[in-house]
């Protein structure tokens, strides 16, 4: 295919574990099919294009920019703004770009506390001269500029205008393929849509949904390490904190099929404003206790409730603007 008529795609990773990059590679043989019709113009993890190459492109010269990772550093902000200018469509790929992701839980603590812990007080740190990262460092070969650690980790859409989202930590190969096919099809859905995934929750496609008893009534939740769940029975009904009911489906319940409760990486459904708040409501609704003491007891084993229900989504939704960040 003529490189001029191929769809120009750019990939970029912000604060990323690399899993989303792997997810692209995980397309396996389907990747070759995609490569037949796309021309990758930027992919730091895999190809040797430089930032200047992107700057040289005309505005809107990139057809689709697929960006993963949360905005943690000033450099991320700089690059995604550049990519926004240069791209017709921007896709937030993976939980971090979509919702903030797991690193978003850092927003519970003040920047000073994070720096202090990570560089000085963490048990495995040896930092006798108490060195903290600086944005400008003098070395014997000159001045070194390091990206600034932003005060708050943000999902992509709080920094640039995002056209579409692909959910998941990371998005599964099926979801990725479907999303890419949609993008290449020319039949684009409404702006802001989530691509490749279901419109209903995980329970809709979970094989264990039909094993639920008529009424769920949990006296006390259990942690996955505490027992071996019956793989043929709904995990929520067994007392595990499975977030399947509140999480967008499309992953084919792969975690549940591996006997692990869903942790919500595909994020909220369309009508939901705050994932964690919705999760709290449904979890509370199936607790079989009538007083505060009993309710707290039901949650006893769940030591980190915020971490459980906001694992991927703390920087999005409603709570993000209300958090009083902790100082320790």
């Amino acid at each position: 295919m003529n490189p001029q008529t191929k769809v120009k795609i750019a990939f970029y990773w912000n604060a990323s574990c690399g899993g989303c990059e792997e997810a692209i590679v995980d397309l396996g043989e389907d990747l070759f099919k995609v490569l037949e019709v796309v021309d990758i113009v930027f992919w730091p993890v895999a190809l040797d294009f430089k930032l200047e190459d992107v700057e040289k492109l005309p505005d809107g010269g990139i057809d689709v920019a697929i960006i993963n990772g949360g905005i943690r550093f000033s450099e991320h902000e700089k690059v995604v703004k550049l990519l926004r200018r240069k791209s017709k469509i921007v896709v937030a790929y993976g939980s971090c770009a979509h919702l903030g992701g797991i690193p978003g839980l850092a927003n519970l603590w003040s920047k000073a506390t994070i720096m202090d812990y990570v560089y000085l007080r963490a048990p495995s740190v040896v930092n006798e001269s108490n060195v903290l990262p600086k944005e400008v460092v003098q070395t014997d070969v000159g001045e070194l500029e390091l990206p600034a650690f932003l005060d708050v980790l943000k999902p992509l859409n709080r920094v640039i205008d995002v056209d579409y989202y692909v959910p998941g930590c990371p998005p599964t190969p099926n979801v990725t393929l479907k999303a890419i096919e949609t993008l290449l099809s020319g039949k684009l859905p409404q702006k802001g849509a989530v691509l490749g995934a279901d419109v209903r929750a995980v329970c809709d496609t979970c094989p264990l949904n039909e094993t639920k008893p008529e009424k769920l009534a949990i006296k006390e939740f259990r942690r996955p390490h505490a027992f071996i769940p019956d793989p043929k029975k709904c995990l929520l009904a067994q007392g595990l904190l499975c977030l399947g009911p509140v999480t967008r489906g499309g992953c084919e319940a792969s975690c549940v099929k591996a006997n692990m409760p869903c942790t919500g990486c595909f994020g909220p459904l369309d009508n939901v404003i705050d994932f964690g708040a919705r999760a709290l409501s449904f979890i509370a609704s199936i607790i079989d206790q009538k007083d505060e003491e009993g309710i707290r007891k039901a949650l006893g084993p769940v030591v980190d409730l915020v971490g459980q229900v906001y694992k991927f989504s703390l920087p999005s939704g409603l709570l993000k603007d209300l958090i009083k960040r902790k100082e320790v």
């Binding site: 929750a201 949904n209 039909e210 008529e214 769920l216 009508n271 939901v272 449904f282």
Partner: protein, 668 residues
């Protein structure tokens, strides 16, 4: 008129309420503010919006300005929402397109000292109401037809009166009773307190009235096994157990029982006498049809070496040829609009109170067993004699109160209400028949609250010299030499300890919910109170209703009580049932739960929260989705709050209708 897709045209009406509102805030300024809000076509204020001219103003404006939403800022909606709903309805608008703003009870009346702030707050409240008015939708209150017949479960005194009251009001009644005869526990009693009426004498006319009533279909020896549907339209499956005697042919001559070789303990006499395998529970049984007990009858239990039954005597000698060993159980389906549960009680099993040695000595019996001994149709023909030989006249009878009542050691904290009175009665009857005998009642308190009750108890003490000793009996021991029970008593009033040797000990056993009550409760999804009896909807105001619409309770199934209270409750339950049955229809409410099936993932969380079992997960188009039964929904909204996807919403209180209100009030 008034669909969600049309452009809202809102009229805002601000009431002065005389000076109640206008005396605190500037209603003109509020009106001006209201008219500036989005989609407000007209804003007015008036002295008394609820008055005739006030309402007519609204009606006129609706017609003239083609308004399709109305906001009334005035008193509490708990006061006048129905008024203004009717008002806009008369102008052709759906009544749910009204929003009331409470600027009186919640504003001017409580912020008189801060009029500026009150005005500010009123503006915010009106703005929020206009926002909400934009999102209101017309709602329907469906009318569903009601089947004009009723089911009464239980043929005791409560069930009989419930059935008669309904039948006399023109309702077809199915009366289902699990034993072969109606009459219940009252048929087992000798005399009733405080009048000492003969129990059977007042009961049997009622039983016959029920049997002969053209509106009552009596299904005895039958049990309810399945229930579907809801108020106005219950589909009930009733299992008719086989009597092996054709009801159409049996003349109750009794020849079969005379010749029957097999016998068993007589349940009606609580095992104190025997009956045959083919039997009539008692002579006045209704229906008067014999029944064969297949667990005892030799035709069913014994075969010869060739596999043939060894007996069939009753079939051979029955002059009416009514015996039919090939009868099968039959299930019938009945369709009723309301159900009354009157399944009664059972007595507390005194074997649970081991200290009282019930079952160890035949001289220790329950009050109900003593009642059978007192009864002329009982094992002794009404003579007071000691079981099991029926030779000795007991000269000292000790009645122990609160056996299985007010006793946490057997998990029964409540008082059974009737025992103080029935013991006083039994003591009196004993003294009447054995004037030189001694009667002791060992009590904790004497509860004699009803009409004539205290007087009756005083008669026992003063006229019949029954000795009342206040004590909690710790133990009954059996004297190894005499084999007589000795009751150990510590008199709380004198402090004296005594050991009362008794010829007969009568345990005043408490009332417990019957096993069939528990089964029926499960079938109908009626919840149980902490004491185990059926839970009424409201302890004070709705004693015969349950949380399940159309299902009523009465008699001892609801809690321990005596005959007058059972009858009163039975009639109350019938009257409550008639409220539904005589109208001919039931209405759903407008603000029911409603599910978007395209968004529903069938997770089932909503089903878990509904207090009325109004939601079920059904398979539709290959997918599991929630389905709401409008007639059962009471509009609490808990399911909508629980729904993790937003698929379940509550009409009139959708997220899309409430969230904008919250935002407006938080912002302004």
């Amino acid at each position: 008129m008034g669909g969600p897709s049309e452009q809202p045209r809102i009229g805002v009406y601000i009431c002065h309420c005389g000076t109640n509102i206008a005396g605190v805030i500037n209603v003109e300024e509020l009106t001006k503010f209201a008219s500036s809000l989005p989609n407000v076509v007209i804003a007015k204020n008036y002295q008394f919006m609820c008055s005739k001219p006030g309402q007519e103003m609204i009606i006129e404006d609706i017609k003239q300005h083609k308004l399709n939403r109305v906001v009334v800022a005035a008193c509490s909606p708990r006061m006048h929402e129905p008024t203004f709903r009717r008002c806009i309805q008369s102008a052709g608008l759906n009544p749910y397109l009204l929003e009331m703003v409470n600027i009186r009870e919640h504003c001017t009346w409580v912020h008189e000292h801060e009029p500026d702030k009150a005005l500010e707050k009123s503006k915010a409240l009106v703005a929020a109401a206009v926002t909400r008015a934009n999102s209101l939708e017309p709602l329907e209150e469906k009318e569903l037809p009601v089947v004009k017949s009723a089911l009464v479960i239980g043929g005791g005194i409560a069930g009989l009166f419930a059935a008669l009251t309904l039948a006399n009001s023109g309702i077809k009644v199915y009366l289902v009773e699990s034993s072969p005869t109606i009459g219940g526990k009252m048929a087992m009693l000798d005399k009733t307190f405080p009048t000492l009426d003969c129990s059977k004498c007042i009961l049997t006319p009622i039983m016959n009235e029920v049997a002969n009533h053209p509106n009552i279909e009596l299904l005895t020896y039958a049990e309810v096994v399945d229930v579907q549907g809801s108020v106005g339209d219950f589909e009930v499956k009733v299992l008719l157990k086989p009597r092996y005697v054709d009801p159409a042919k049996c003349k109750a001559c009794g020849e079969c029982a005379k010749k029957c070789p097999a016998s068993a303990p007589n349940e009606f006499d609580l095992g104190l006498s025997k009956r045959k395998a083919i039997y009539l529970p008692f002579p006045q049984a209704v229906p008067t049809i014999y029944t064969i007990d297949p667990n005892v009858c030799l035709y069913f239990t014994k075969r010869d070496r060739m596999g043939r039954p060894i007996c069939g005597v009753c079939q051979k000698i029955c002059p009416a040829q009514a015996v039919d060993f090939n009868m099968q159980p039959k299930t019938v389906e009945i369709n009723v609009g309301a159900v009354i549960i009157a399944t009664g009680f059972e007595t507390f099993d005194p074997r649970l109170k081991k200290e009282y040695k019930y079952g160890v000595s035949p001289r220790i019996i329950t009050s109900l067993e003593f009642e059978r001994i007192l009864c002329a149709t009982g094992p002794t023909g009404g003579k007071v004699l000691c079981p099991p030989d029926w030779k000795e006249v007991p000269k000292r009878v000790v009645f122990i109160q609160c056996v299985g009542s007010r006793d946490l050691t057997v998990d029964v904290p409540y008082c059974s209400k009737v025992c103080c009175m029935y013991t006083a009665k039994q003591a009196i009857l004993y003294k009447e028949r054995v004037p030189d005998g001694e009667a002791y009642v060992i009590y904790i308190d004497v509860r004699a609250a009803g009409k004539g009750f205290e007087e009756f108890y005083r008669r026992a003490v003063e006229e019949f010299n029954v000795t009342y000793i206040k004590s909690r009996v710790g133990e009954v021991v059996i004297d190894p030499e005499t084999n007589k029970p000795i009751v150990r008593v510590e008199d709380a009033l004198t402090g004296y300890m005594m050991e009362l040797e008794a010829d007969l000990v009568v345990l005043a056993v408490g009332l417990r919910p019957s096993p069939s009550t528990l089964k029926i409760a499960e079938l109908f999804k009626v919840s149980r109170s902490p004491d185990g009896f059926l839970q009424e909807l409201h302890a004070k105001l709705y004693p015969v209703q349950t949380a399940v619409d159309g299902v009523f309770i009465c008699g001892c199934a609801q809690g321990p009580k005596d005959i007058p209270d059972s009858v009163a409750q039975a009639k109350a339950a019938a009257s409550a049932a008639l409220e539904i049955l005589s109208q001919g229809f039931v209405k759903t409410i407008g603000y029911v739960a409603s599910v978007d099936k395209d968004l529903c993932s069938g997770c089932g969380i909503c089903v878990s929260v509904c207090p009325y079992d109004a939601i079920a997960i059904k398979v539709e188009n290959g997918r599991r989705v929630a389905s709401v039964e409008d007639v059962k929904c009471k509009g609490c909204g808990s399911c909508a709050a629980a729904c993790p996807s937003g698929a379940m919403q509550q009409k009139h209180f959708k997220d899309a209708q409430l969230i904008p209100v919250v935002k407006t009030l938080a912002k302004m």
